[in-house]
Every structure is written in C-alpha cells, then in structure tokens.
C-alpha cells in the first residue's frame, strides 16, 4: 500500500485529499503546518508528498528545498493558488516534481498521483 504525506493547512482540502485517495487504497498522513510536515517527512516512509505553497511555520517551497538538499528524492506535488510564472520557476529550483493549481479537478489530481506512484 502506498503512503502519501499531505501538508495542507486548509482542512477542507486536506479532508478531500484524504477521502479521495483513501478510496483508491492509498494511505494518507496529514500535517497541518510546516513544522509538523517537516517532522513527519523526516521520519520517512512516504511514496509521495503533496503540499501547499502557503503554509504556517515553514513555507512549502523552503521545506521542499530543505528535503532535496538532505538527499530525499521522493516525488513532490505542489498545490498553488496563484499560477504565476514566478512560482513555477521557483518550484523547479526547489526540486518539485509537479505543480497543480487550485482549483483542480480531483480526477486529474488522482491521475497525476497514480502516475507518480507507479513510476516510483
């Protein structure tokens, strides 16, 4: 069974992801801020990380950059509310695998997740 870490401070989005992915048989761990996310992520054992750009504590991009520097190669999906060029550029620099802008369609997100899990 695949394990996915979701770092998302919006409880609606977090519950949606947990519910939707659970239906596909994917185990989901939720962290509600950057600090909790970092703690879980460092513990390891995830096949994929989905996180928001804007997070309380440590922001999504910095956290990703930090993990990549530490040698972690887990695929990362970044959720953005602002689809500006700048974020896409910074996301590439931070070593993020894919960016998905809100509002996203759940089936599309699921498709990306399953594709990345299969590849991993």
């Amino acid at each position: 069974m695949s394990r996915v870490l979701v770092i998302e401070d919006d409880p609606g989005i977090a519950r949606l992801l947990k519910r939707g992915l659970a239906l596909e048989g994917i185990e989901v761990d939720i962290a509600e801020d950057g600090f909790a996310g970092r703690e879980l992520w460092e513990r390891g054992g995830f096949d994929l990380v989905i996180l928001d750009v804007m997070l309380p504590g440590v922001d999504g991009l910095s956290l990703c950059a930090e993990r990549r520097t530490a040698g972690d190669e887990v695929p990362i999906i970044l959720l953005t509310a602002r689809d500006e060029e700048e974020i896409a550029h910074r996301a590439r620099e931070a070593g993020i695998t894919a960016c998905i802008g809100k509002p996203f369609s759940f089936p599309e997100l699921l498709e990306r997740v399953t594709a990345l899990l299969k590849a991993g």
Binding site: D10, G12, I13, R15, L16, R19, G20, L23, A81, R82, E85, K102, P103, F104, S105, F106, P107, L109
Partner: protein, 478 residues
C-alpha cells in the same frame, strides 16, 4: 469644475489688462512727450528770436536816444561858452542821430506785434521832427543865439518823448522775455512731472505684471498638483479594485476545489438517483463558478496591467487548422453544424492559447444562440497586415442599441435566456481584452432576425506580412 475656472481666469485678466494698460500708457506718454518737446522747442525759439531781441533792441534804441541827447547837450554847453559850435561836435551829433535812425530801422525789421507800445514809424516821425526842428538852429546859433536856445528846449522835450517810448519798448521786451523764460521753465517742469508720472506708472504696471505672473504660476501649480493628486487617487482606487477582485478570486479557488472534488468523489460513492442528481448539480455549478473566478481574475489582472501573454511565433496556416479543429469539436459538443472557410497566410506573434480562447468564446456564443439546425461558420483571411477571424451565426441577431455594449462586463442582451444558457457574462469582455492586448480589436456586426458576425483582428508579426495576402489564400473547408 466651476471654481478653478473662475480662479484661473482672474490672474489672466489682471495680466492681460496690465499689459494692455502698459501699452496704452506708453503710447499716450509718447505722444504727450512729443507734443511737450515740440512746445519746449517752440517756446524757447520764440523767446530767443523775438522777445530777447526785442529787449536788446529796446535797450539799444534807448542808448541811441540818450547818445543823441548827450551830444545835443554838448552842443548846448559849447554854445553857452559864446565861442561858437565846433565842427567836430556837430559831426558827433550827426553820427548819434544816424545811429538812432539805424536802430529804428532794425526795430522795424524785427516787427513789433504789440499795439500798446510805440511803432517804429512813430519813432521815425518824432525823430525826424526833432532833427528838423533842432538841426537848422545849430547852423544859425552864431547869428541867433536866442533861437538856438529855444530850439534846444523844444528838442529836449522831444528827445525825452523818444526816450520814454524807447523805455516802453525795452520794458515790453523784458516782460516778454521773462514771460517766455518762465513759460519754458513751466513747460520743462510739466515734462519733468510727466516723466515722473511715467516712471511711477511703469513701476506700478511692472508690479502688477509680476503679481499676475506669480498668481498664474501659483494657480497652474495648484491645478497641476490637484490633478496629479486626483490621478494618483484614481490609480490607487483602480489598483485597489483590481487587487480586491484578484484577492477575492484567489480566495474562492480553495473552497471551489473542495466543493468540486467532494462532488466528484461523492458521485463515485452513491448510486441512488436523487443523490446523484444533487452531486451533479453541485459539480456543474462549481465548474461554472470556477470558470467565472478564472474569468474575473483574468480581467482584474488586465485592469492593473496588460494581461500576461506567452507570445510565440506561429504560422497562420497551422494555427488556423488547430483552431478550426477545436471550434468544430466545441460545435459538435453543442450539437450545432459547423462549417469553415479558412484563408490567410503569414506569421503571428501571439499567445496562441489566448487567441484561441477568444475565438472559442465567439463559437460558444454562436452555438448557444443559433436556432437548431443552423450552422456556425468560421471564416478567416489576412488583409492589411492583420489576421481576421470571423464567427458567423444565423441566430436572432443583436439590436443596434445593444451592439455597442455587448463587450461590457456582465452585459446581456436577453437576461433570462443568458442565465439559462449558463454563461458568465464575461466572455466577450475577455475576448476584447485578449484582442487589445495583442494590439488588435474585436468587431460585432449584426442584423436582427438574420444573424451575427463576430470578428477578431490581430496584427501579423512585423516583417512577415506577405505582399499579396490573397495570392496564397488557403483552400476552403479542408
């Protein structure tokens, strides 16, 4: 608006009247100065030629009369010695008399214009009477001493008469030259006073002009400042509005995602028809709301700056094929027949996805409004350095009074119908924004009951415009 106008005109009026006043003042002063100068010259000339000379001649005449009298007395004293009158004394007397006559001649030449004083001919007559009365008595003195003494007495009376007359002339000359001199002085004083007045006037006008100039400058500065402030306030308000819409749209994205995603998951879970309908409704409405949010966000960005375009160079032909394919797909989705007539040649430097979005908005509108079974037509051509893409329908058309407003946000010709069709009311506004961001434009042409033609025109990339657009026109309906 009324207030600044009035204030602005005030210093201007002061400036104009000051300049006008200055010009008139200078002209008047110039004329007065000329007249005064002429008068001073005239008065001085007159005083020098006539009055002063008159005084001179009066003096000379008196001296001549006194000389004659002096030499007459000498003759008398010689006669009293009883030794007879010498020839030299007679010659002296004759000389003095000749001088007197000469002075009278000169006086006559001068021409006395005053009737209160004796005229030269009076002088000459009295002088001649004097001479003719006394001269023979000199020659007879040796023989008739008594007669000589009588003639002498008589002559003294006459010579006194002449002297008094000469004094009168002299006095007149003095009076007149004094009057002329004081006239010159007075005129000069007037001129001086006038010059002082001119200087005062110049200083005053200069001060007025300076004041007016200061007022005008201050007023212009004030107007400029207030306009600047108004423009800044307007820009801030616009920015605030755009920011607000952008922020609101961003904020809406997250709950929409939740709604949408949950509806999608919910659809998979339940098989009960009512619940399925509910989820389908939620899904449809949240899809529509998402589109609205994206449209609003695009327009809000376009308000504060030109919308972000990802331009690329693309061949018109290949772009049109791709566009036609997507338009056909959309028409099919809407169940509307579709035909195309693609023409045009050249290169576009454009955000292809945005141009396509604009044209598909036209196609979507046409498909919504055309009667069942009537086609939507896509026509294109390049002409005058631009690519024109037209979408035609045979729908009900747009009344002329609405035609100019259909590109406004949320403007709808038929409100109830548009709502039923589920549009956002922003489509045409977005199409226009896209066209204008590319330096192009949108045009609407419509006849009620016949149909509507919506055209998007964008310029071709510089330097790639073909010489003859139609030569390379593409075939129809490929």
């Amino acid at each position: 608006m009324e207030q600044p106008k009035r204030i602005r005109s005030q210093p201007l009026q002061i400036a104009v009247s000051a300049v006008g006043g200055l010009l008139i003042f200078i002209a008047v002063v110039g004329v007065v100065g000329l007249v005064l100068n002429y008068r001073i010259t005239g008065v001085t000339q007159e005083a020098l030629t006539y009055d002063v000379e008159l005084e001179d001649h009066g003096d000379d005449l008196r001296v001549a009369v006194l000389d004659v009298r002096h030499y007459q007395r000498n003759l008398y004293f010689e006669a009293l010695t009883g030794q007879g009158i010498s020839r030299t004394r007679v010659a002296d007397f004759e000389g003095a008399y000749a001088t007197l006559l000469q002075e009278i001649d000169e006086l006559e030449e001068l021409g006395i214009r005053d009737e209160d004083v004796p005229q030269p001919e009076d002088f000459r007559r009295v002088a001649r009477e004097y001479y003719e009365g006394f001269r023979p008595a000199i020659d007879l003195e040796a023989s008739d001493h008594r007669a000589f003494l009588d003639a002498h007495e008589e002559a003294l009376v006459r010579i006194d008469e002449l002297e008094a007359a000469a004094r009168q002339i002299d006095k007149l000359g003095e009076q007149r030259s004094a009057a002329a001199l004081s006239n010159v002085q007075r005129t000069a004083q007037n001129a001086e006073f006038l010059m002082l007045a001119v200087l005062g006037g110049l200083v005053l006008v200069g001060a007025l002009l300076a004041y007016a100039a200061l007022r005008v400058v201050a007023e212009l500065r004030r107007l400029y400042d207030s306009e600047q402030r108004a423009a800044e306030a307007l820009a801030r308000a616009n920015q605030a509005k755009a920011d607000f819409i952008a922020d609101a749209s961003h904020e809406l994205r997250t709950p929409l995602t939740v709604l949408h995603g949950n509806a999608q998951i919910g659809l998979q879970l339940e098989d009960r028809p009512e619940q399925r309908e509910i989820f389908e409704d939620i899904l449809r409405e949240s899809t529509r709301m998402s589109r609205l949010v994206e449209d609003l966000l695009f327009l809000a960005r376009s308000d504060s700056a030109s919308p972000p375009l990802h331009r690329e160079l693309v061949e018109v032909r290949s772009f049109l094929f791709g566009l036609a394919a997507r338009a056909a797909a959309l028409a099919q989705e809407r169940g509307v027949p579709f035909s195309r007539e693609l023409g045009g040649y050249g290169t576009l430097n454009a955000d292809v996805a945005r141009i396509e979005q604009a044209v598909l908005i036209f196609v979507d509108n046409a498909a919504k409004y055309c009667p069942p079974g009537t086609p939507v037509r896509l026509v294109s051509e390049t002409a005058g350095g631009e690519l024109r893409i037209t979408v035609e329908d045979r729908g009900p058309g747009i009344p002329e009074e609405d035609l100019s407003r259909i590109f406004e946000r949320f403007y709808r010709v038929d409100k109830t119908r548009a709502r039923r069709q589920g549009g956002s009311g922003l489509g045409l506004s977005i199409a226009r924004t896209i066209a204008e961001a590319h330096g192009g434009r949108v045009e609407a042409e419509s006849r009620v009951g016949e149909g509507t033609k919506m055209t998007l025109a964008v310029p071709l990339a510089a330097g790639t415009v073909p010489e003859r657009d139609r030569e390379a026109a593409m075939g129809e309906g490929r």
